[in-house]
Structures are given as structure tokens and as C-alpha cells.
Symmetry: D2
Subunit: 154 residues, 4 copies
DNA sequence: TTTT
DNA sequence: TTTT
């Protein structure tokens, strides 16, 4: 089974961050994606979707440090649905995207908003993390340049 | 803005298909994705997510013809959320995935269930459609093999 | 079978656009994706991947009009590989991404480079196109607001 | 920058697995994705793409244990290109997909080839790994059911 | 060849 | 609640 969501959108507010009793950090925020289209009168209409995003642990810590209302971010995650009963015993359903990766596409403020944020601002990104699990991770004494093709056993 | 969902899962039932007054066809079905994990006692637990899928027009027609309860399919689409009020004037929210592409990964029945279904069973797939918009679409008199690289102006 | 590529990166040059004899338009460009990482001395290193992108027909026309060297774009497409023989009869292989969708994430110039480009600048985007095939597309006399849930036959 | 590839296809051979001097395991295999289309005579043609896949470390170990020629798998990864010079000093380019996740969609043999393989056969999958990093991971004494919404601090 |  |  595969369950994968990819979004680029804007944060409606700063993330809300909490810690559970077991120490795990959680962050939640809303992300707006939208599309513009012309209606039959030729006027631009905006159809905005607000997605509820939840992130855990290291991703939540990174969200707390780096995400602010108004930013545009890229994220990947999975769709989860929870069913519960409200005070009138009606069945209610909540849908959230559990994101396991995000990166900032654009800061909202003018400051460095004009630039695609460098990954240097974003040290815990998946690419670096991936280096741990995907790459040979040479020790200092046997550093292999990525292009050192001859060192590969193929 | 980007809003993209990718799922592989099983149909809970045959699709429900309807036509609107304007002639547009709509189909809906539920798709289960799941993951297994060991709980603290070491027993396998299954966490199933049921997603509400909706497809329109040509995709709905193809769904009606080809999709059956129990099949495993791959699909791509976008997440949409609608807010409405129930009889008690509570705000309720419904989340659906509007799929613009699907393909069968496995038939549920034993018949040809063992084989990855051929695209020959699936003539309206995106790849064929893409040929219309993505490829040179040569006329009969100037058919270009895909490998006829020399005919390309680069 | 599924073959899907998703990239966000920068254009190395303006697209090269050509028309085939059959009238089909083709555009090609290179897209850089990169990741930064610290090397063992703690210096930032950049690992850039240059991807060859090819787009056809309507997507090529849109690329010609809207894409410029230095822009950051999001795209989706598929991986294709072609094998050919060079002048020394060596087998050579070329890999290209045939993109069927793109959207501008950031203009390179200062002008409106600070803003996430509106879809209003981007009328041929997939979302609009999707409206044609995914939505009921009501006629003027029976316009249905997207939220007019009651009009749906479910 | 984002660089993401999603494939469902068939393994051309068993993976080739090696260990580097630093102990890192590497596995390589070819994956075929294809699409069928009718040519102008109305005959079915098959266009197969063969992708070179490379996986590292834990993913490579899992590939060695579980992947066999003929299986259909889903994978996610990133595109990488390497440039090198052949014996005639020609610049040559090699494209590989560095996969960071895969799962078996269909076994090739008749044995349990008819069923979508359970994640129970696939213990090192991303979903389980994600549980480690994405979920609260309660200790035994404070186990929280996934639906125990009231225990979350929102 | 881009970008930070 | 964002953004254009």
C-alpha cells in the first residue's frame, strides 16, 4: 500500500507546538493550496483548500524553528483519517496530513523573501538525513567524493 | 501551488456511478491503504485508512467499466475539503480525493489476479492520453519511431 | 506501470524551442536541482544535478512564453531513456524527462521575484485544464458553485 | 530543490549486491516500466523504459533479502547523473535512480504472486520506520491508541 | 548552464 | 487562517 501526499502552499499561521508527556514533540499548522480560474463573467476566482498538517518529533522541532505564518513550503506526507464522536454522539471525521518532510520555498517577508531559501538554512532536511542512510557515509580517512565512481564495485 | 496525492490501495466496493443533469458522469468509491506494525506485545496490528475518492467524466466512465470491489489500484489526484452544516447546524467537513488518473495494479479475483494487468486492458490510460498532448503525434504519412532521434531538431 | 518524476529546480538557460515538420512544437531546457551539505571540514558543498527536460505541444508553447533562464519551477513528468550509436559505434544512452506539467515557483529577476507567481500569469496550468476533464463543467445557465454539494447525486 | 522519482515496474534480474571497504552495502538492479499503445495499423506496441536503480545500506540489505527477478515493485528516490570519460576520452553520462524506499507490489512466482504482499513480509518498510520518527512512540506504561485524540494537546 |  |  502506498499513501503519499505532496503539497506546495502557504501557512495560515505559525505552527502550534506541544510536547506530549512522553517527551515527543508535535506541531500542527494549516496549509493553503489554491488555484485561480476565470468564472463565466471572466472574473478571477480563487478556490483555496486548507489542509491540516501534523508533524512529529524532529520534523516538529524543525517546524517550530523555521516555519512562520505566510511562508510557502513544499511538503511530503501521508493522509490519515480519524473518526470520533462529538458531544451529540454524532460520528465525526478528521483528516490530517502527517508530513515527514518539508522545505521552505519562499519566506513571506521582504527580508530574503525574494530568494529560494538555501538548504544551508535548513540543516535537518531530508537530503542530509538521506546521506546517513542512502550514501556510503565514508569516514574522514576514506572520504569518497560522490563522483569517485571507480571506488564503486560495479 | 501544488496539491498531489498518490495512493495504492484496495477498493472497498464497486464504484457508485451517477450522471449529473448536465451529462457529466461522476463516480465515487472508497480506497483502503494500510500499514502493518508490531505492537508492544509483538503482535501484528493493521492500521487501515479509508479514503473517499471521486472521479469525473472520462475517468468516471473508465472507473465504471473497469473497477470492482477488492481490486488494488494506483491513483493520482488532489485533496479537496468541503465544509457544510448538519441538521444541528454544526460545521462539518468532508475530505475527498479528486483523482485524475488511476490504473489497476491487481485484480481481486483469481482469474488473472496473479498478473500485473496489461495496459491493453486499460486503453484510456494517461500514457495514451499523454501521447496526444506530449508527443509529436505524427500523421500516418510521416510516422516517426520514438527512437528516430535524428528527426528531432536538436 | 508507473513512471513519475517531480522536480523543483532552476533553469540553466531559456528553453530551446523548435517545430517539427508536422507542426508539433518541442521545447528543451536544463533544470538544476541541488543539495547542500557540510563536508568533513565543515565547509558547505553543493551537489548539483542537471536534468534534461523536454516538453511537447501546448506545454512547449507555454514554456516558450513563460520560462526564462534562472527561474525556479516545479514540474511533473516521466523518465525516458534513448539508446543510440555515436560515430565510433559505441552505444550511448540519453536520459530525458518528458514533462507534462510545470509551474513557476519563482522568477529569477528582482521584479516580482519576491512573490509566488500567481496562477493568473499561468492560464494554461493543469488545474484549469483539469477543470475541463475532472469537473462537471456546468453551462452558463446551470452554473454550480463548487460547494453546491446538494446538487451532487450522492 | 526537490528531486523525486516514483516508479512501479518489474525487476530485470536479481539485485547485484556488494559491500564497500567502509562496510556500506550497495545494491543495483534494473527496473522496467512500460506503456502500451496502438500504432497507426492498430497493433499493440510496447514501449519499455529500463531504469538503473541503486540503493544503499539498510535499503540494500532489504533489497538483497527480498527482491528477485520478475517482481513488480513500487519505489521512490531521486535522479542522479554522473559524467565520466570513456577510453576514447569521450564524455559519457550515466543516470541512476537512488531509491530510498521500495515495496513489493507483486511476486513473480505463482506461490503468493496472486496477493498484494503484506507488509508483514516487509518489516523494514518506511511506514514502520516512520513510526519511529513521526509518531509519539509511547512507552509501554503510557500507550496511546492512535484514536485517543483526547490525549493529544490540541 | 541555474541558484544560494 | 495564507498567498496573488
Amino acid at each position: 500500500m502506498v499513501n503519499r501526499v505532496i503539497l506546495i502552499g502557504n501557512l495560515g499561521k505559525d505552527p502550534e507546538v506541544r510536547s506530549l508527556e512522553n517527551g515527543a514533540m508535535v506541531a500542527k499548522f494549516s496549509l493553503a493550496t489554491g488555484e485561480s480560474y476565470r468564472d463565466k463573467e471572466g472574473n478571477w476566482q480563487e478556490q483555496t483548500e486548507w489542509h491540516d498538517i501534523i508533524v512529529w518529533r524532529a520534523v516538529a522541532e524543525r517546524a517550530e524553528k523555521s516555519l512562520k505564518k505566510g511562508m510557502t513550503i513544499y511538503l511530503e506526507g501521508k493522509l490519515t483519517h480519524r473518526t470520533w464522536q462529538d458531544k451529540d454522539s454524532n460520528n465525526r471525521k478528521t483528516t490530517e496530513i502527517v508530513a515527514d518532510y518539508f522545505r521552505i520555498v519562499k519566506n513571506s517577508s521582504g527580508a530574503n523573501g525574494a530568494s529560494f531559501p538555501s538548504e544551508k538554512d535548513d540543516p535537518n532536511n531530508r537530503n542530509n538525513v538521506s546521506n546517513v542512510s542512502d550514501a556510503p557515509m565514508p569516514t574522514a580517512s576514506e572520504e569518497l567524493p560522490v563522483t569517485a565512481d571507480d571506488d564503486l564495485p560495479f
